[in-house]
Symmetry: C5
Subunit: 277 residues, 5 copies
């Protein structure tokens, strides 16, 4: 912050300094170096990775596509995913029957957002893409933990890393956007840390049956966070969300859901096949 | 909560503990064991059952379907319901004429939500389904009573179970989503119990002419509850809802309705026939 | 309320008792007995009558209907109204040119809501109905006066009944939904009575040039009331509404309009003819 | 208010009396007598005149109309305006390129609103009208000044009448709806007068380059006022609006814009020609 | 303000005078004189320049345009931009894949807004324009600095001008509308200056990797400001926006985004080509 040190920084102490501290990444942080090919195990755990979420709804025109061409559309998507495998990791979920605004949704990970855009643009040019309307798009970036770090909250940090998912293979995926109020962002770091600790504690019991991943979106989209979940136990998930609703941090939400998107987990081609039947 | 006991749980006492207590189901509760075939009497009274509500609106293209094919669509739906009878219980209600956003709505019960999704996906592939647009979808789970239990509120609990519906067969079904504020979820259990007692007392007088069923949706959808009613006396229902509006619990609603969906009760094939005429 | 008397009713005194008192109709009140045929003079003044309001907008496809068939559609609607005259009273208003979301709207009165639904369903199957989209539907029930009764407010009650409409035949009809806040419904009856008296007093001067009718909708639709007006003097109506905006009761509105629907009064066939030209 | 004098009017003193006083028009005021033919200079300055604002958007089908027929549509509109010249004064503005929800908008003045409706209905039946969708409609009535009268605020009243527009011929027209809160309408007249004085003072400096006209809509539409502006200096207009945002009266706005509609000023046929190219 | 000096200006002191002072441009300021031809370097740095932002979404009909004609559409746009180069500066960004409501967006600069309208109208008549729907349009004007001037805030002013963008060529453009509350606009200038200083300080560190441009829209559109950014480092941008969310000024936002529009930077013809593939 060289130059700014000469300025009237007394004005910006307090909340601001805390805010910057809480986002310890340097302003000009570089994206994670892209490996030769996308490795699922790596890209899903690294910081500085883009997550592009898109929900799509089939137009009525899809019904007029001949059955054979609809089925071939599944292979076309499979080939497209294969073609872009060095640039993006693609997951597709089936929402038809469970959602109003979509029939399927994509979660695309990339080190370079422009490459995720290219993949999505080409998907829109496939048979199924041409008959689909995009109904929601959210872009986020992964980061290291902001609050529950080893230094700031050692007990909860240990808790987060000592329990792992041990349920059946998850059959359900959920995407839930979160936006927080100006009051939240203006609170001192210590206060936000306390609230997030209170928020985190009840989630530990659910680590065994609900997986969770967080993307940061402030300014890139009209949300602050995209929260993503996988589970095979929707009752447990419901109880987890009630626990999260019941802590003071919830008072600072200006968006939590809207939409909440619930889909089932299948391979990309099987999602398209299910929609082609 | 084994591991968390070592953490700084002083932070999460109060409201949180109460919240968890109020949702006494263990985090990893199993869905109710599915019987060999779905039995209406059982599935409508058990906890841990999924309720999938979907409203649909006919496209203008429906008018262009030949009258004979429109009528055949009713049988097609009947056969589909029969085909899935071991997996889902299907109710369909006629809303055309009473609603803006729909012509009919479905209430589908299942022990396994993925099976309800499969039914809905196949319904969308039928003649009437291909000419329909989904306009609302809500997913909930049934649970045991949270507040008015024998232990916590014995008098009202007895009241709930001592009166039964004694009016004419209900001709009307209503679906009303409910979402509560962060302030509500953060109140101590004792306070919420008192509010729910005040909410419940005036409802007892209406047990004779309004049936009621509750589904829990927090986190699964953008609502906390789906309330479902059947009645043959809409004036009594209106008076019941005014009574519920007039208790303090109403101050914690951030969504009550939006949409309120009102339909008439018929067999699935008769709903489609009415729309085919 | 027999059984509930043994319960912890101390919890539900105060506001609740007042609320029930204010809605003195017994929970299981029967609909008004239907006369042999619908009589306009009766059904428009009786309590326990359903009012179904529906706004409709013509699709672009209406322009492609041959002019002769469009004109024949007016007679078709006339015959349908005649066919259902023992079950429903039908008014149709022309909104094209005055509204965004509709070209015409219907007010249908019935002793049995299911019969109003049947009429609307058959209307949707007529020529003009098939080319129309429903853009708003509200259902209400008429009741006796809640507040300004002979007992509770004798002076204003006398005022309400001593002045009658004496202007030219009304050419304009307006439909305005009203929803009140939880704060309103939780106020003691005496407080609400005072507010409604303050609300009513300035309306008396307008009884000579604005007709008014009230329908109750709480729980049946996403509104508490549907207010309906007829006038030939829109300036007087505007002044009346400013007077109503200027009393404290207005502070408890969470919906007042949205939509406000303004149409002109014609016979049903003339409304369709005007749209057919 | 003859009869009401016997009622419990102590209840309605204060704010209500003030509100009525501020709207000094008698409840049954007659519309201004219509002259033999509409005179622009008169109808634009008289009270009790209806202003009907309608924004329209061309459907995609407009592109399929042959170029010659599109151009002929301009003459058709010109002839329609001529045909109705004894009943309505019609202005049309071009918004394509400047607005999302419209390509053009109409401002129609009439002594009798039903005649404005008839004109709009016939416009919808012309070639361009058949390919247009109405996206907003607002109806208002002109009145004399409510607050800044010679009696109540002589200095500002003189200011309003001593400055006149002296810029280049305005090329831009703006329509901005305004709705005020229940708190505003419940303030005593003296308080509202003070706020409107504070609101009016900074506008005087802009009388030389921004023209302004006000329509009253409370109860007739979901807005209280329609404000209409013409200017050739959008920077001055922007500064005027910032000045108006910066006075306390702004705190009572529940709607200011939404939509703000900005168009350019041309003759009716030239607007349609521009859209036909 | 000559004439107004005789009025009761005691009423409009305080906040109003401050507001006018903060917008030091005289009411009748003239637009910047247009040079013979638009020069990018000039028009992007001058005050009193119009910025017209428009997002567009391709209709399904675009898919039916033959591939050759879709590709020719790119040249057609290029020629149109060339044709209008003396009147407007045109930038086009690709949003397909990153946004829900658009496939591309335009930023058009002009000294005369009517000329930007003419360009947009002609664009809508091109092949790609005819198959596009406008989904958002915002109009703003550039001005000199309001708060962080040499006089009012010399330190921060120096900071703003001493750092320049030094990252890789930006690949991303973002458009974010901002609207502030009545409370904001009613604050005294000194208070707003302090808040903007607190807002500005943390942005200095990001001048090296985020470019920023501001347009004023109060009254011209339903927003107060249009903020435009270019960057090649979306993580830095996200951190910048978190810093801005964390200062008190954020509490006065009634709109910040909604929509946030994110696109990639290409030449106009390359954007259309990408959509034509």
């Amino acid at each position: 912050m060289g130059k700014t040190s000469k300025l009237r920084l007394g004005l910006v102490a307090g909340a601001l300094a805390a805010a910057l501290a809480a986002n310890a990444l340097p302003a000009a942080a570089q994206p994670a170096a892209a490996p030769a090919a996308i490795e699922r195990g790596k890209i899903l755990t690294q910081p500085n990775v883009f997550g592009l979420f898109t929900t799509l709804k089939l137009n009525a025109s899809w019904n007029a596509v001949p059955a054979k061409a609809r089925m071939a559309a599944a292979d076309e998507v499979k080939r497209l995913v294969e073609k872009h495998k060095d640039n993006v990791l693609v997951d597709i979920y089936l929402t038809r029957g469970l959602e109003t605004q979509s029939d399927y949704f994509l979660r695309v990970h990339a080190y370079d957002l422009a490459k995720a855009q290219t993949f999505m643009r080409e998907l829109r040019a496939t048979t199924v893409g041409r008959h689909s309307e995009v109904t929601e798009t959210l872009v986020g970036i992964t980061k290291g933990l902001n609050y529950i770090t080893k230094d700031q909250s050692p007990g909860l940090n240990a808790g987060l890393f000592s329990a792992t998912y041990s349920g059946d293979a998850p059959r359900y995926a959920l995407m839930v956007p979160v936006k927080k109020s100006a009051e939240w962002w203006n609170k001192p770091l210590e206060d936000r840390l306390k609230e997030i600790e209170t928020h985190t504690a009840p989630t530990l019991a659910f680590l065994v049956n609900v997986k969770r991943k967080l993307y940061h979106s402030t300014g890139i989209d009209d949300t602050d966070f995209i929260t993503y979940f996988e589970t095979n136990d929707l009752l447990a998930f419901n109880n987890l969300m009630i626990a999260l609703a019941s802590v003071p941090e919830n008072k600072y939400h200006v968006r939590w859901g809207s939409p909440t998107v619930l889909g089932t987990i299948h391979s990309p081609e099987n999602v398209i096949k299910a929609l082609a039947e």
